[in-house]
């Protein structure tokens, strides 16, 4: 499906099972309609559910200010990777399921009147994994920020590197981090927003390098996944381990911010630095 269809009714009619979700925290049954109206917060326990990309963009940007860039970039199967299914097949499935070509959407926008560059990751697209396209799009966005001297904001949600792209995935960590180092040297602000979940190669590259790191409440954030750690050390992990509040306590994020206050928090910071 072409990018244009996404704006002109290429969307499928909703599956009945898409009409409701269960809150992963309190198991409350939540209507999709209510979730959309309520910023994907649980109406009962206020748990922050994963937020779809376009809702996130609407949340953080001024009305109609977002202009997508690099939307047509697509992954290729450089390794000829086959596990239980060939990689191109998995990609096609993800493209159809998410209506987007890759696990990150990038664009120029305004936030409380200030021009920004925004990247939003999509966990629904192969676990938000970073392959060549995610790395390239994020790097291009950062370079654009450097060129225009506009602040860059990345909203992460990712299980880490995309195994199907092997060593190319790993090198995206180097590429994105080097681009941020240039941004730092030029004193252009970079803010990282960590949402549930942010782990592995994304956590160990651009998501941890913000001048300011902001986490959403109760998000899983860490280098290694909890299961891997449990298997390695053969110990049960403490409650709240690798959750946003744990990271705040250990000095890894500057603040844990409720979704409702995210945009105003960003606005206050950026205006102070403008």
């Amino acid at each position: 499906m072409g990018w244009f269809d996404r704006f002109t009714g290429g969307r499928k009619p909703p599956d009945p099972s898409d009409l409701w979700k269960k809150c992963p925290k309190c198991s409350e049954i939540l209507l999709q309609k209510d979730l959309e109206r309520n910023l994907f917060l649980c109406g009962k326990c206020d748990h922050h559910l994963r937020m779809p990309v376009w809702d996130r963009i609407a949340l953080l940007t001024d009305d109609n200010s977002f202009l997508e860039i690099d939307q047509e970039m697509e992954s290729v199967d450089a390794l000829g990777f086959v596990d239980s299914a060939p990689y191109p097949e998995r990609l096609q499935k993800a493209i159809q399921a998410t209506d987007s070509f890759e696990a990150v959407t990038c664009g120029e926008a305004h936030l409380e009147g200030l021009p920004i560059l925004l990247a939003v990751m999509n966990f629904e697209f192969m676990g938000g994994s970073m392959g060549s396209v995610v790395g390239e799009k994020v790097t291009r966005l950062i370079e654009r920020g450097l060129e225009k001297r506009h602040p860059v904001i990345c909203v992460s949600a990712s299980g880490g590197a995309r195994m199907q792209e092997g060593i190319f995935s790993l090198m995206q960590m180097a590429k994105t981090s080097a681009a941020i180092a240039r941004l730092n040297a030029a004193a252009v602000p970079y803010i990282s927003i960590l949402t549930d979940p942010t782990t592995g190669g994304v956590s160990a590259s651009f998501a941890s390098l913000g001048d300011v790191n902001i986490a959403e409440p109760d998000a899983l954030i860490g280098f290694a996944g909890p299961r891997v750690i449990e298997q390695t050390i053969r110990q049960k992990l403490p409650d709240g381990f690798q959750k946003s509040e744990f990271l705040l306590q250990h000095g890894m994020v500057d603040m844990v911010v409720h979704r409702r206050h995210l945009k105003t928090t960003l606005g206050r910071l950026l205006h102070l630095w403008a």
């Binding site: 072409g2 690099d70 047509e72 970039m73 697509e74 992954s75 290729v76 450089a78 390794l79 990777f81 086959v82 596990d83 239980s84 070509f101 060549s132 396209v133 390239e136 790097t139 590197a161 195994m163 792209e165 092997g166 060593i167 190319f168 790993l170 090198m171 995206q172 960590m173 180097a174 590429k175 981090s177 080097a178 681009a179 941020i180 180092a181 240039r182 730092n184 190669g201 956590s203 160990a204 590259s205 651009f206 998501a207 941890s208 390098l209 954030i221 860490g222 280098f223 290694a224 996944g225 891997v228 750690i229 390695t232 050390i233 110990q235 992990l237 403490p238 381990f241 000095g251 890894m252």
Partner: protein, 326 residues
């Protein structure tokens, strides 16, 4: 005695027979020189054959061989008594899985940094099997900054299963430590040479892998995830590691083809552990050759080239366009 692999068994058998014949021959009773020569030839041929047709999984086994020369083994040969080891990240502790210091290689005073594995269980426990905590990466970065201040080039040996996944590592910011190194290494104004000498395990390897040149020893591996980890996740079966090793394309030849590394350094037949001195000599010659090329460059030029090098890594297409190669 060097421990051998399953696929080396036929060679070991023949080597035993060769020894027996040589012993017999030394008794002086019978002349076995022709038989001995024949077996020696056969061994050489068989070695060449076997090591030419190894599976990726077998490369991984050689890369992890417990006798495979480690960072400190190479430093002993390359720097001799000139090596001064430095300890600690000045923030939390000292990580034995990462060694760092200064030494002399040929005419050059250099900073040397590397993951450190052990050659037996005790040593491996002390070295945490070469899996650093955040303090290891921060120590490495501290010494690299010293190198930059004193204008000394940096030589790095990569040999780790990966960054350690543990509670303390997460509490102290394993992600941040790795990410910070990736960013800061890209801005260090002195030449950086990286050598993958064994296992290049994911982010834990890359965190000291941002070099102006990246070399791999012939039987070393470098991948985004271990074959076992990949098999466990994608096949839901860790015993499919052989398939995962093939799919991941983790050999030096693969990475050279992909433009990720600059050069493959040949190892002695049978692997580096069969002749560490010869392997070290290859590494030394490579260091001298490439420092000669890089030292004349200004810091700005170095940084521009280093950025461009990693910037170009990745393969993707823009709709309906041809694939953009790495």
């Amino acid at each position: 005695m060097t421990r051998e692999f399953e696929f080396e068994r036929p060679i070991v058998e023949l080597e035993k027979r060769l020894k027996d014949l040589q012993a017999l021959s030394e008794d002086g009773q019978i002349d076995l020189s022709r038989e001995i020569q024949a077996i020696a030839d056969k061994i050489a041929l068989m070695k060449a054959e076997i090591f030419k047709s190894l599976e990726p999984w077998q490369y991984a086994q050689i890369a992890r061989h417990i006798d495979r020369p480690s960072t400190l083994d190479y430093l002993k040969i390359l720097c001799g008594d000139s090596f001064v080891e430095l300890h600690g990240d000045r923030l939390f502790g000292d990580d034995a899985a990462m060694v760092a210091g200064f030494g002399r290689i040929g005419p050059h005073a250099v900073a040397v940094i590397g993951h450190q594995k052990g050659h037996d269980t005790d040593e491996n426990l002390f070295r945490n099997f070469g899996m650093p905590h955040p303090e290891g990466y921060r120590k490495a970065m501290r010494v690299m900054r010293l190198a930059e201040r004193f204008k000394k080039p940096i030589v790095i040996f990569i040999d780790t299963p990966g960054a350690f996944p543990g509670i303390g590592a997460e509490e102290r910011g394993q992600s941040e430590a790795i990410a910070r190194n990736l960013a800061d290494m890209s801005r260090l104004g002195v030449p950086i040479l990286c050598f993958v000498i064994g296992e290049g395990g994911s982010g834990g390897a890359l965190a000291v892998g941002i070099g102006d040149r990246v070399f791999m020893l012939e039987y070393s591996i470098y991948s985004v995830i271990s074959a076992e980890g990949c098999a466990a996740i994608l096949w839901k079966d860790a015993s499919r590691a052989k398939d995962a090793a093939r799919a991941l394309r983790l050999r030096a030849t693969d990475l050279l083809e992909f433009g990720i590394i600059d050069q493959i350094l040949p190892e002695p037949v049978g692997g580096a552990h069969r002749d560490p001195a010869a392997t070290a000599a290859t590494i030394r010659a490579t260091i001298l050759e490439h420092l000669a090329a890089l030292l004349p460059l200004s810091a700005d030029e170095l940084l521009a080239r280093r950025y461009a090098k990693f910037r170009a890594m990745g393969r993707y297409k823009v709709q309906d366009d041809a694939e953009i190669p790495a």
